[in-house]
């Protein structure tokens, strides 16, 4: 039996010590009629066989190593320096539990403290928790923080339509029992200025994305100020990779910054796991959900780290907790910390700039093609929208013949953007690959 070390004689000895003859006797408390079901599962198999099977399954997928990838829409193929996975594979990190026992968990604790510090620096905020599940759930938690901050007295949430559709959906799922009014995302053409008009004294939180789902980068200073003037919290859903070059949301006066950390050293893995970033101002720290690592000293005065402010959490406060989150994304937060440490001040900026320049080059080139045009007006980062002469799915089928993974079909989420494709260009794309894309698109135009 795989992974069960017992020998037959040990089994017998132990059963005897426990005072039973057979395993069956251990289950007297279980209703006899449903005991020991015959499970319809495959036969046990060896590691050797199973790994071969899994290899074959994995190769039934298309992957972005063997295609040129222009698909983003919330999951990005960025470069991951080799060191990141080498650190994640350290047994002491990945086989540990949440660091409840600090004396033998300083590795995790210090790394989480560093993660928190890095996230504060990157987003320009004062405090960070030790992670949420992903960017979408982090946004939902931001909504809850705002609700709690206003003691559930304000029930209107403004979500920009250009927040990732999944994130908006998750907010709605989370809050379906809370009787909220969620507004602002009826039309993707509602910009920050129009959002200002929707703010009123019942508004608990105003949230926008940066860069937004359609690639745009806006200066949110006025919006943030308007929200705060009305007593609402202002939340920015940020792509942390973009913050390598973009003004941090802290400078827009954000009260909360959330985001998905996948772009910081985490492979896409068909969508997960990634890490949900959550940073805020010090004044909200006791309302913030999730774990927190703090610095302290041991009995000899040596610096060390512990989980702190745990009374906010469910295992102490139970139904009064700020959230139910327990297991978070520890190892993925570590991945981001390693990534940011090795990319560093200059590396992250350079990678972000590479993506920026390449995206703009691609946009410009495609914009010249017959039938295609760049939809975005104003500044964008590394994603942009093109209007297409044909359904996006048809175009993508054509691109795939050239081993190109085309962009995201925006018509799925925004009826007004039927036949519009969201294209992402990261630092992994070369000029040559952009030219290949342009050539392939040109063919589509001419068909």
């Amino acid at each position: 039996m795989a992974y069960i070390p017992h020998t037959e004689s040990e089994r017998q000895e132990m059963l005897a010590e426990v005072g039973v003859k057979h395993f069956d006797e251990l289950y007297g408390a279980i209703p006899a009629d449903v005991r020991f079901p015959d499970l319809d599962l495959p036969e046990a198999a060896s590691e050797m066989e199973v790994f071969a099977e899994l290899t074959a399954l994995s190769e039934a997928n298309l992957d972005v190593i063997h295609t040129t990838n222009f698909l983003g829409a919330g999951a990005y193929h960025h470069y991951i320096p080799s060191v990141v996975d080498h650190i994640l594979r350290r047994n002491e990190f990945y086989t540990a539990y949440t660091p409840y026992q600090p004396e033998i968990s300083q590795g995790t604790l210090q790394a989480m403290f560093e993660y928190q510090s890095l996230m504060c620096q990157l987003t320009g905020m004062e405090v960070s928790n030790a992670s949420h599940y992903d960017g979408a759930t982090a946004l939902a938690e931001a909504v809850i923080l705002a609700l709690n901050q206003h003691r559930m007295k304000r029930k209107k949430v403004l979500l920009s339509a250009t927040i990732h559709p999944h994130a908006r959906e998750v907010v709605r799922t989370y809050t379906q029992g809370m009787g909220l009014e969620i507004k602002g995302d009826e039309d993707c053409n509602v910009g920050p200025d129009q959002l200002i008009d929707l703010i009123d004294e019942t508004t608990t939180l105003v949230a926008v994305q940066y860069p937004d789902f359609l690639g745009h980068i806006h200066d949110y200073t006025a919006l943030g100020a308007a929200a705060q003037a009305a007593g609402a919290l202002f939340c920015v859903v940020a792509n942390p990779f973009a913050l390598g070059m973009l003004k941090p949301p802290g400078e827009f006066g954000a009260d909360v910054v959330v985001g998905d950390g996948q772009s910081l050293g985490i492979p896409m893995s068909f969508g997960g796991p990634s890490v949900g970033i959550f940073t805020t101002k010090e004044k909200y720290v006791r309302k913030m959900a999730g774990r927190l690592v703090g610095e302290t000293v041991d009995k000899d005065g040596k610096r060390g780290f512990v989980l702190t402010l745990t009374p906010r959490e469910q295992h102490i406060r139970r139904d009064k907790a700020t959230s139910n989150i327990c297991t978070n994304q520890g190892l993925m937060a570590l991945a981001s910390a390693v990534y940011l440490s090795v990319m560093g001040k200059t590396g992250l900026r350079k990678a972000a700039e590479l993506a920026y320049h390449k995206a703009h080059y691609a946009a410009e080139r495609i914009d010249t093609l017959e039938g295609f045009s760049l939809w975005n007006e104003g500044a964008f980062f590394h994603e942009f929208v093109i209007s297409c002469p044909k359904p996006v799915s048809e175009i993508n089928a054509h691109l795939l013949e050239y081993d190109i993974l085309g962009g995201y079909d925006l018509g799925q989420d925004y009826p007004e953007l039927k036949d519009h494709m969201l294209i992402a260009v990261t630092e992994m794309i070369t000029q040559e690959e952009i030219e290949d894309l342009v050539l392939a698109l040109e063919e589509v135009g001419h068909d």
């Binding site: 795989a2 069960i4 070390p5 000895e13 010590e17 426990v18 395993f23 279980i30 319809d40 036969e43 790994f51 994995s58 039934a60 997928n61 320096p81 080498h86 002491e92 086989t95 540990a96 539990y97 949440t98 409840y100 026992q101 004396e103 033998i104 590795g107 995790t108 210090q110 790394a111 403290f113 928190q116 510090s117 405090v127 030790a130 992903d134 998750v170 973009l246 896409m268 893995s269 969508g271 796991p273 774990r291 009995k299 040596k302 610096r303 469910q314 406060r317 139970r318 139904d319 327990c326 297991t327 190892l331 390693v338 090795v342 001040k345 590479l354 320049h357 390449k358 080059y361 795939l400």
Partner: protein, 491 residues
């Protein structure tokens, strides 16, 4: 030796990676949106590697030694799981790529759904929730949606035993429902009489942890479930303790309506120092339509030589997605690998040996440590870390002293209903030799507690750092290092 912070070993101008040069014309930048400073540390690759390698060495994991953390199922994480999750076709697949180009991932998810249904006795499974607590929220939202869909809007209360994990009440609150706590009786079961008092038309459901957090199988589980059902409520199962039930009993067969699994407990995916986990939710027939989508289904059946076509569907009355994309796919790969290797035969063997190990330790320790509910337990048991003869020694001291013996301590002070609780879950992957060594250490510590209490109170002695001042941490909040204000603490 303590390790300096990453900021403390940063040097202005140092570079960790080289990147390609720009190979396209540079575009203009919107100056007002460009940041001035990017205050990240500056290190060479070697600095980063050494820093995190050294940090890792300050950690204790399952791969370092025995980790009997109750309620956490710290079983061995098979290495092949890690390899599988890193296969290029899995790790580098985009979640939004065309389902036809993702048949490998979808097939894997489909089978995992099927297998989880089979071991749980459920009709539908959603793999989307990210962890146990996330599964709880999902499940409670499903229960809520179910009642509402039947026009039954007054069911706003969820009953939760006092032995439940804190996530249960917290999840309930998050869902917008209200918590009513139910006490346990003197055998560690739910107090049936109390329960009856609360049953009624306002009850949306009950959250049941079974085996409960004392490691005991609810002796009147059928009565409890029937009671809830008869008053119109549904039963939520906290599946954190499924390890004890694999191949032994299927929660769905007991009438549990919805349950979350912890792939990061029962199905061997690593805990990662606090995640990521994965908390799929299984439901009986009447709840299938409420599951969060997307879910994998067979769109076209297998035809000779042609494999079936898998696709993503969204259940009709879905509560909506609870997460971006499809959940923690990387964890699913690991759990799939594990279940595939264990197979039919392995399931029951896991439960049998997990239960055997827990009972073996219970029996070896019960003469010296008080086991308040001393009967055959399931995968874990709770004992008290306190003796009248050593009044100043507490569960925490025992926990810390165990570190000196090379073991990770059990969970302590949970469940709350046992004073000075030490909650021990050995899991099936530990050998008799390890259990014996652990029992010896605990017996020795019990002697020390009486003979030399300071040894425990000042423990641990053999760890990289001594007992930490948690009060100070909470009072003088230092939650991130501010590189500029730091005076060089690196020595």
């Amino acid at each position: 030796m303590t390790e300096p912070l990453i900021y403390e070993i940063s040097t202005p101008g140092r570079v960790g990676v080289t990147l390609p040069n720009v190979d396209v014309p540079e575009a203009g930048m919107p100056e007002n949106l460009i940041r001035d400073d990017l205050p990240l540390p500056e290190l060479a690759e070697i600095d980063v590697v050494r820093h995190f390698v050294r940090l890792s060495q300050l950690n204790y994991g399952v791969d370092t030694g025995f980790y009997p953390l109750g309620s956490c199922t710290m079983k061995y994480n098979p290495k092949v799981n890690e390899d599988a999750a890193r296969l290029t076709g899995f790790a580098f697949a985009h979640p939004l790529q065309d389902p036809e180009a993702s048949q490998g991932s979808l097939a894997l998810m489909y089978f995992l759904q099927e297998w989880l249904k089979e071991v749980g006795g459920f009709k539908g499974v959603s793999l989307q929730p990210a962890a146990g607590a996330h599964g709880e929220l999902t499940g409670i939202l499903i229960i809520r949606a179910y009642h509402l869909s039947r026009g039954d809007a007054k069911r706003t209360k969820i009953l939760i035993p006092d032995s439940a994990h804190g996530t249960n009440p917290a999840s309930t609150t998050m869902s917008g429902l209200e918590v009513i706590e139910i006490p346990s009786d003197e055998r560690g079961n739910i107090d049936l009489e109390e329960l009856k008092k609360h049953c009624g038309p306002e009850i949306a459901g009950l959250m049941l942890t079974n085996p409960n957090t004392l490691g005991l199988f609810e002796e009147q589980v059928q009565e409890v479930i029937d009671l809830i059902h008869s008053c119109g409520g549904l039963v939520y199962g906290d599946g954190a303790n499924m390890n004890a039930l694999l191949g032994v009993v299927r929660p769905g067969d007991l009438g549990i309506d919805v349950l979350h699994y912890n792939l990061h407990k029962t199905f061997s995916t690593p805990h990662g120092g606090g995640g990521p986990g994965s908390g799929p939710v299984g439901v009986l027939d009447h709840l299938v339509d409420f599951l969060p989508g997307p879910i994998v289904d067979v769109l076209e059946d297998e035809k000779e030589e042609q494999p079936p076509l898998y696709g993503l569907i969204c259940p009709e009355k879905s509560i909506g997605r609870v997460k971006s994309f499809h959940g923690h796919f990387g964890m699913m790969v690991r759990a799939y690998t594990y279940m595939r290797i264990q197979g039919k035969q392995g399931m029951r063997a896991i439960a049998d040996h997990a239960v055997l190990n827990a009972n073996y330790l219970r029996v070896r320790l019960r003469d010296v440590y008080k086991v308040p509910f001393d009967r055959i337990c399931m995968h874990e048991f709770v004992m008290e870390g306190h003796w009248p003869e050593a009044p100043d020694v507490h569960a925490l001291d025992i926990a810390k002293r165990l570190m000196d013996y090379g073991f990770h301590p059990p969970t302590n002070y949970f469940p709350l209903i046992v004073p000075e609780a030490l909650m021990i879950e050995p899991t099936e992957t530990e050998s008799k030799a390890t259990l014996d060594a652990f029992a010896e250490a605990l017996l020795k510590i019990a002697e020390e507690a009486k003979a030399e209490p300071a040894l425990l109170q000042e423990a641990p002695h053999a760890t990289p750092i001594g007992r930490l001042d948690e009060v100070r941490a909470a009072r003088q909040l230092v939650l991130c290092c501010r590189p500029l204000e730091l005076d060089s603490a690196a020595d």
